[in-house]
């Protein structure tokens, strides 16, 4: 199959990373290590144009993310603009800067859903991993405000070696707070999390316990709470279909306006990612070399090229191939068929480490 323009489907979702500013410093943050400063952020007029172009292109859902998207004072106007275009609007937030008035205004602007992250169930480890005193208590309070406002709530429970033993209690907490959807998300090992992998990667026994906890919770909460489960791919036999395939479903826009097929794609050298300030979203989606680079199957090396899973997992994750092998064009090492799979086995055998590198703006 070739990725011809005629066969190209429109994107389903746009991830709008409004800012990299964030009061939290979680050491598994999905942002790149090199963060965009406030001065370089897109202005509201550009964001509004991008949203309009996205709706026209066929995007159905927009996820306002960051950093912490509520750090943008013009968030309300962006939500109103997106909702007016008929886009399904989602706010992905740490919650610590939200209050009753702002939530009411967001609901009034047409916000469809809020995803609130939780780092733990207990205050001390929750605050410690976010490097923010009082974060956990604030998040509980904000969750209650979200539910009281009538906004649908997803609790995103980020799990790793240090808190997996408390997963059952975390799920109980999220259900008790009124979340209709719970996302149990193992940290994914890119950027900050990759730097902290030896301190965060769970053991196989921990993972098996977590699988059982999720199964039990799904049975208990069936029909009331939907639980989605993002597993750590290091323990999988086949790679994840990262972003449902490069340039197939998603567009990610960085705070400075770079359009990416996934939020970590900037790490890949040799690709000139297009800017929304210079090109329209439809040109970027349909004609840019960057979005075509790993689209479809024509780029694939063996063993992917002849694999019967090639249109299931799309060769796995390009950023992971790069991060672990130094070459983004190789088969995702997670796959047991990959020539580089020993890298994963070595990572799993790494001795655990205690110290963490927290997410901070690094001056160069």
């Amino acid at each position: 199959m070739t990725a011809s323009a005629a066969a190209l489907e429109p994107p389903l979702a746009l991830l709008a990373e409004l800012t990299h500013r964030c009061p939290l410093q979680c050491p598994y943050c999905s942002n790149p290590r090199a963060l965009v400063t406030r001065a370089a952020e897109l202005d509201i007029a550009t964001w509004q144009r991008v949203l309009t172009e996205a709706a026209k292109l066929g995007v159905l859902q927009v996820h306002f993310s960051g950093g912490e998207p509520t750090a943008r004072r013009d968030l309300l106007d962006l939500v109103r603009h997106a909702a007016g275009l008929g886009l399904y609007t989602n706010l992905i937030t740490s919650g610590v800067q939200l209050d009753r008035a702002r939530l009411a205004a967001l609901a009034d602007a047409g916000l469809d859903h809020i995803q609130l992250s939780f780092q733990d169930v207990d205050d001390a480890p929750g605050d410690a991993i976010a490097a923010y005193d009082g974060a956990q208590a604030k998040k509980r309070a904000v969750a209650a405000l979200v539910v009281a406002q009538g906004l649908p709530l997803t609790a995103n429970l980020v799990v790793h070696r240090r808190n997996l033993g408390r997963l059952a209690a975390m799920i109980d907490m999220a259900a008790g707070l009124g979340a209709a959807r719970i996302e149990v998300a193992h940290a994914q090992y890119y950027g900050w999390a990759l730097a902290n992998r030896a301190a965060l990667l769970p053991t196989r026994a921990q993972l098996e316990d977590a699988d059982r906890v999720v199964d039990a919770a799904r049975a208990t909460l069936k029909g009331k709470v939907v639980i989605d489960y993002v597993t750590p791919d290091y323990y999988a036999r086949r790679p994840k279909a990262c972003m449902s395939g490069w340039g197939r479903r998603f567009i990610n826009i960085t705070p400075e306006g770079k359009a990416l097929p996934c939020h970590a794609a900037e790490t890949i050298p040799g690709i000139a990612f297009p800017f929304v300030t210079r090109e329209s979203l439809s040109t970027i989606w349909q004609s840019s070399a960057a979005f075509a680079r790993f689209r479809g199957t024509a780029w694939m090396p063996e063993p992917c090229r002849s694999c019967d899973q090639r249109e299931v997992d799309w060769g796995g994750c390009r950023c992971q191939a790069l991060a672990l092998t130094g070459d983004a064009t190789r088969t995702d090492p997670v796959c047991t068929l990959a020539p580089d799979h020993t890298l994963i086995e070595a990572a799993l055998a790494d001795p655990a480490r205690e110290e963490l590198t927290f997410r901070r703006f690094e001056r160069v």
Binding site: P10, L12, A13, L57, G58, L60, Q61, H63, G86, Y88, N90, D112, H113, Q115, G150, L151, P152, T154, A180, R181, E183, K222, G223, V225, V226, D228
Partner: protein, 91 residues
């Protein structure tokens, strides 16, 4: 005791069901998920209005598709339960 069969179905909070002009298809939009229901599910979802019960949905479909009620009842009930389990519908 409430009669479960008499409870109407509605969309769960945060779930939207709409026709997408770009794709010329009905789409379920939900928190961080979306999917295109098949033609059977689409016909059922079009009838969800917060007032219709399972019986009312079955009656409507049986009449419009000129099918024996008993034939489609089991399928419809199964699909409604599946949509509840997936967080799309509530009652």
């Amino acid at each position: 005791m409430t009669d479960a069969a008499a409870a109407p179905y509605r969309f769960a909070p945060g779930v939207k069901f709409r026709f997408d002009d770009t794709r010329q298809a009905w789409i379920v939009l939900a928190p961080e998920r979306l999917f295109m229901p098949d033609e059977h599910a689409t016909e059922i979802l079009k009838l969800i209005d917060g007032a219709r019960t399972a019986d009312a949905v079955i009656d409507d479909l049986a009449a419009r598709f000129d099918a024996p009620r008993a034939t489609i009842a089991a399928d419809v009930l199964e699909m409604l339960q599946d949509l509840i389990d997936r967080g799309v519908l509530r009652r």
